[in-house]
C-alpha cells in the first residue's frame, strides 16, 4: 500500500492533500506540524552549513516516515534547493528508512510531461483529464487562499475581536472537502464575505511594513518565529509578496517586471528570488512604507547577495530596513528585542514626520 507524505510550508497542506487525495488514490500520511523536535531531528542529520529549509524538510520527513509513510515528495527550486533531494534521499536511507523518493521539479525546470509520468508511477490508473481538472481546482484554491491571506495580513493588527484567523481556519477545513470548482467558489465567496464583515478599527495613518526575503522563511511561520503575528500585535499593516500562487504562476512574468523596475541597480537575475526582492524593495520605498523587513534562512546565498543592494536602495530612499537571519539555533528573545527596537524607531520617525508637517 502506498503511503505518501510531503514537506510542509505554511497553510498549504490543504491544497496538497486535496490534490493528492483526488488524483493518487493512496493513503496520505499528513506530516505533523513543525515543532522544536522537528528542527532538532533535521539539524542533527544535516550537513553543517546548509540553509534551514533543508533541515526543516528533513525533520518533517523523518517524523512522517516514523508514522509509516513510504513515498516522499519534494519540489525542487532554482538555487541549491533543486539539489536537496538527492542528499536527503541518501541521508534518510543511511538512517535505515525504506521509501520511494519522488522529485517533481528538477534543476528549476517544471516539465509537465515528466510530472505526469512520475504521478502515473504512483497511481497507474491516473487519467490526464482528471489530473488537469483537479490541478485546475488546486490552483484556484491557492489563489483564493492567498487572496484571503493578503486581506488578513493587512487587517489582523486592527481587528476588535480575534476572529480573522478562525474564519480562515474554518474555510481551509471546508476547502478540503469541496466537490468541484463551483463548490469551491461558493465556499470562498461565503468566507471572504465573512472576513470582510469582521469589524476592523484601522486608523488612516497606521504604520506599514513590507516583508521581503527568502521564500521558505517568508512562507513558513514557524521558520520565522511567527514574525507576522508579532508585528500584528504592534498594530502594523503588513505587505508580503511571496506566496504559492506567485511562485507557481505569476513569477515568470512578474519576475521580469521586478528586474526591469530595478534596472538602475541590477542588470541580471541573481538566482532564486533575490532579484524579485530588489524590485520589491524599490516598490516599497517608492510607496513610502515605514519600514522594510528582510528575512532569510542562514547561509541563503542569493539573498546574501541581494542584501548589499537592498541596503543601498533603502539608503537612497531613506527608508529603514532590518535584516533577520533565521537558523535552527536562533534565539527568539534576540529577535524580539531587535524587532521591538526597530518598531520604536519607525514609530518615532512617523511621529516626527507628523510634527514636521504641522509646522
Amino acid at each position: 500500500m502506498n503511503k505518501i507524505t510531503f514537506p510542509l510550508v505554511g497553510n498549504y497542506r490543504t491544497p496538497i492533500i486535496y490534490l493528492f487525495k483526488h488524483i493518487l488514490e493512496c493513503e496520505i500520511v499528513e506530516p505533523p506540524p513543525i515543532t522544536k523536535k522537528t528542527i532538532e531531528l533535521g539539524n542533527a542529520n544535516s550537513p553543517e552549513f546548509v540553509c534551514t529549509p533543508f533541515k526543516y524538510t528533513l525533520g518533517t520527513y523523518i517524523e512522517a516516515l516514523e508514522k509509516g509513510a513510504n513515498i516522499v515528495v519534494q519540489f525542487g527550486g532554482g538555487c541549491r534547493y533543486g539539489y536537496y533531494f538527492e542528499l536527503q534521499e541518501q541521508i534518510l536511507k543511511d538512517l535505515g528508512y525504506e521509501f520511494k523518493y519522488v522529485n517533481f521539479v528538477t534543476k528549476g525546470v517544471t516539465n509537465l510531461k515528466e510530472i505526469y509520468l512520475k504521478l502515473k508511477e504512483i497511481n497507474p490508473k491516473l487519467k490526464v483529464d482528471k489530473l488537469i481538472y483537479y490541478s485546475f481546482i488546486t490552483f484556484k484554491m491557492l489563489k483564493y487562499m492567498d487572496r484571503c491571506d493578503d486581506y488578513i495580513r493587512q487587517n489582523i493588527g486592527f481587528e476588535e475581536k480575534k476572529e480573522l484567523e478562525n474564519i480562515n481556519k474554518e474555510m481551509l477545513n471546508k476547502f478540503l472537502n469541496v466537490k468541484g470548482y463551483l463548490d469551491l467558489r461558493r465556499t470562498y465567496k461565503k468566507y471572504y464575505k465573512k472576513l470582510k464583515k469582521v469589524k476592523i478599527n484601522k486608523p488612516k495613518n497606521c504604520l506599514k511594513i513590507g516583508i521581503i526575503g527568502e521564500l521558505y522563511t517568508v512562507m513558513e511561520p514557524f521558520a520565522n518565529y511567527y514574525l507576522e503575528r508579532e508585528l500584528a500585535s504592534y498594530n502594523i499593516e503588513i505587505k508580503r509578496f511571496t506566496n504559492a500562487h506567485y511562485l507557481l504562476i505569476e513569477k515568470r512574468k512578474k519576475g521580469l517586471k521586478y528586474l526591469k523596475s530595478a534596472k538602475k541597480y541590477i542588470k541580471y537575475k541573481m538566482g532564486a528570488d533575490s532579484h524579485d526582492n530588489i524590485g520589491r524593495c524599490k516598490y516599497l520605498c517608492k510607496k513610502k512604507y515605514d519600514g522594510i523587513i528582510h528575512i532569510k534562512s542562514s547561509f541563503c546565498t542569493p539573498e546574501i547577495g541581494s542584501m548589499a543592494i537592498i541596503n543601498k536602495i533603502c539608503k537612497e530612499y531613506d527608508i529603514p530596513v532590518i535584516f533577520f537571519s533565521f537558523d535552527a539555533n536562533t534565539s527568539e528573545v534576540g529577535i524580539k528585542t531587535r524587532l521591538e527596537a526597530f518598531y520604536d524607531m519607525i514609530e518615532m520617525r512617523k511621529k516626527n514626520e507628523k510634527l514636521l508637517s504641522r509646522h
Binding site: 550537513p47 553543517e48 552549513f49 546548509v50 540553509c51 533543508f54 538555487c79 541549491r80 533543486g82 539539489y83 536537496y84 533531494f85 538527492e86 542528499l87 541518501q90 541521508i91 543511511d94 522529485n103 528538477t106 534543476k107 525546470v109 541597480y265 541590477i266 542588470k267 541580471y268 537575475k269 541573481m270 538566482g271 532564486a272 533575490s274 542562514s298 547561509f299 546565498t301 542569493p302 546574501i304 547577495g305 541581494s306 542584501m307 548589499a308 543592494i309 543601498k312 537571519s325
Partner: protein, 303 residues
C-alpha cells in the same frame, strides 16, 4: 594612443578564465592589470566592504576589486550563469557583477555566459573589443587563436597531473574550487604543508573537463553545478590509484555544503574535509593534515 587598462581581480573567475583573457586581450592594444596574490590587506578590505554572511571567496574577490579601483580604466567582471541547464553555477557567479556594481562606483566591463539563452563567451569578449573600435573579423580571429593556445597549455598541465599518478609517493587527490586551491591565503599554505609531508598532490581541476563532467554522474545522478561536477568527477577517474582525498572549501560555500556531504557518505577512500573561514589559524589545519597523512601512510604499511 595610450593603452587601455583593464583590471582583473585575482580571485573567482580569474582562475577559470585567466588564460583565455591573457591570450585574447594580448592581440589588442590593451593592458591587463592583475591584482597581486591575496595578502592580509586585500582580505581585510574585502571583509570591510562585504556583507558578513558572504562566503570567504566572495569577500576575497571584493578585496581584490577594491585594490584595483584606482589602478585601471575598467574592471572585467563576467557573469557566468550556465553552460546549459545541466551545468549551472553557484548563485554568487550570477550576482557578482551586480553586487560589485552597487558596492563600488567604478567602470565595469561585463559579459554574460548563458548557453540556455545562446550567450557565449566568444560573443561576449568580441563585443567588448568591438566597443573599443576593433573590427569584428579581427576579434574573431584573435579569439580562435586564443582558444588554441589555451588548449595547448591545458593539455600540458593535464598531462603533468596524470603523470603524477605513477609516482611512488603517497598520493592525495585534492578537491576544491581552483579559486580556493590556488589562492595565496586560502589554499597555498595548505598545499605547501601537504607537500612537506612527502606526498604527491593530484589536482581535481587538472583533468579534461568533459570527462570529469560526465563521470560525476557515477557519484551523483542529479548534480547540476558545473564546477562541482568537474571536481567530483575526478574521483571515479583516479580512485584506484590514490591513497586519500582532501576536500578544501570556504565557509559557507553553498554547493559544496551539499555535494561534499553526499561524497562523504558514498566514498570508500579515507578523506579529510577542511573548511576555511576568515579567522583562520594554520596550526589547527596543520595538525589535522599531519594526522590524516599519518593514517593513510600507516594503512599502506600494514597491508
Amino acid at each position: 594612443m595610450a593603452k587601455i587598462k583593464i583590471g582583473i581581480p585575482r580571485s573567482l573567475f580569474y582562475y577559470y578564465y585567466k588564460d583565455i583573457w591573457k591570450y585574447f586581450f594580448d592581440e589588442f592594444n590593451i593592458e591587463l592589470i592583475i591584482s597581486p596574490p591575496t595578502n592580509k590587506t586585500i582580505m581585510e578590505n574585502g571583509i570591510k566592504f562585504s556583507i558578513d554572511e558572504m562566503c570567504v571567496s566572495m569577500k576575497n574577490y571584493i578585496g581584490h576589486v577594491y585594490y584595483l579601483l584606482d589602478k585601471c580604466d575598467y574592471i572585467l567582471i563576467p557573469r557566468i550563469s550556465n553552460y546549459g541547464n545541466d551545468n549551472q553555477t553557484c548563485t554568487n557567479f550570477l550576482a557578482t557583477y551586480d553586487i560589485i556594481n552597487n558596492i563600488f562606483d567604478t567602470k565595469i566591463l561585463n559579459y554574460n555566459i548563458n548557453l540556455e539563452n545562446n550567450e557565449t563567451e566568444e560573443k561576449g569578449l568580441i563585443k567588448i573589443v568591438t566597443d573599443f573600435g576593433y573590427s569584428k573579423e579581427y576579434a574573431k580571429k584573435a579569439y580562435k587563436n586564443a582558444i588554441k593556445k589555451v588548449k595547448q597549455k591545458n593539455d600540458k598541465l593535464i598531462k603533468d597531473n596524470i603523470k603524477k599518478l605513477d609516482s611512488e609517493k603517497t598520493k592525495i587527490l585534492l578537491i576544491g574550487h581552483p579559486y580556493n586551491l590556488y589562492d595565496n591565503l586560502i589554499g597555498k599554505e595548505i598545499i605547501k604543508y601537504i607537500e612537506l609531508n612527502d606526498t604527491e598532490i593530484i589536482y581535481s581541476d587538472l583533468f579534461h573537463k568533459d570527462i570529469t563532467n560526465t563521470l560525476s554522474k557515477k557519484l551523483s545522478y542529479s548534480l547540476y553545478f558545473k564546477y562541482n561536477k568537474e571536481n567530483i568527477g575526478s574521483i571515479p577517474l583516479v580512485e584506484d590509484k590514490i591513497d586519500g582525498i582532501i576536500f578544501i572549501s570556504t565557509f559557507p560555500c553553498s554547493p559544496d555544503s551539499l555535494v561534499n556531504e553526499l561524497m562523504f557518505r558514498k566514498l570508500k577512500k579515507p578523506y579529510l574535509n577542511l573548511i576555511i573561514d576568515d579567522l583562520n589559524s594554520m596550526t589547527g589545519i596543520e595538525t589535522r593534515i599531519e594526522s590524516f597523512i599519518d593514517i593513510i601512510k600507516g594503512g599502506v604499511i600494514n597491508e
